[in-house]
Subunit: 179 residues, 2 copies
């Protein structure tokens, strides 16, 4: 896998534009190759692969201004998420992580979507919407009827365009803070 | 365990006032015996045991007017919850499920509490508050920093007394509905 280190073995390699093995990078957990191309004819695709270089994910989250989190905990959170969908740009035998989302779930009734991110360079092309549609599709395919999330004010309208409703029937999202 | 059937083997026995084995019912996952007694000198205690008779749980949820759910899915949801806390009334070698709560989680950052229920007969005694405090305590002990829930309008003030905040920093709880 060249520089492409496993999430579960950890890596401190620089990963942007990592080089992959012989067979190209489209992994076995591929879900959709997007019908349009990125820069230089690159290919964009969604995957459920969890073999994510944590440093590459951190770089992606840094780019959208999120607070840094301990990689040890990020690794644990990914391992214990019900669903992880990643968005990749692939050019030749190089690929780059350009989007990420995950959901926790009880595998039966409820799922909650966390950490939806698309690289700023790739925003405004509908990729965030496509990513969320993939999340919804997969959760529905698993017979999850209650898909929830907590939206920052600036992304509420984005989620509304996808069919998410704020406070349906007066149900309120609440967060616990130490008393 | 007499009539007391395992969640994982399933049971269709009537369970109210189920009889237990020889050694009393306090299980190995006991977390706290409450300092006051129920009716007839019964003992009330919290447990993390998941060996719940699904029919007894259904009876509890029926009593508070919840919609019925397939027991197959309830079983799966319990098995895939990060935390389950149950509240029991024990008298002699009989015990009854009188409260329940569970949380999904990524085991690292976020937890979401679902299905908080206390039997109507036992409401108004602070047991719901104690149950939630046990949930919070256990989640904090697991280093979960973000404890969330979705509250129906009539219980928002209840959760506020426990330190939960509605829409902090404008963050909105959202639910997906088919477009």
């Amino acid at each position: 896998m060249g520089f492409w280190k496993s999430l579960f073995t950890g890596s401190n390699a620089a990963t942007k534009g990592s080089r992959a093995g012989d067979a190209g990078l489209l992994d076995s957990r591929l879900i959709e190759v997007l019908p349009f191309q990125g820069e230089n004819g690159s290919r964009l695709y969604f995957s459920m692969e969890r073999q994510i270089d944590l440093y590459e994910l951190e770089e992606l989250c840094d780019a959208v201004g999120w607070s840094r989190r301990p990689l040890r905990k990020v690794k644990k959170a990914i391992a214990h998420s019900f669903l992880v969908i990643t968005l990749w740009e692939e050019l030749g035998n190089r690929r780059r992580l350009i989007g990420f989302s995950r959901a926790t779930s009880d595998h039966a009734f409820n799922a909650t979507i966390w950490d939806v991110v698309v690289s700023p360079k790739y925003q405004g092309k509908g990729l965030g919407k496509s990513l969320m549609k993939q999340m919804i599709k997969k959760l529905r395919a698993e017979d999850i009827s209650n898909i929830t999330l907590f939206a920052d004010p600036q992304v509420v309208s984005f989620y509304q365009t996808l069919g998410f409703v704020v406070d349906p029937e007066g149900i309120k999202g609440m967060f616990w803070y130490p008393e």
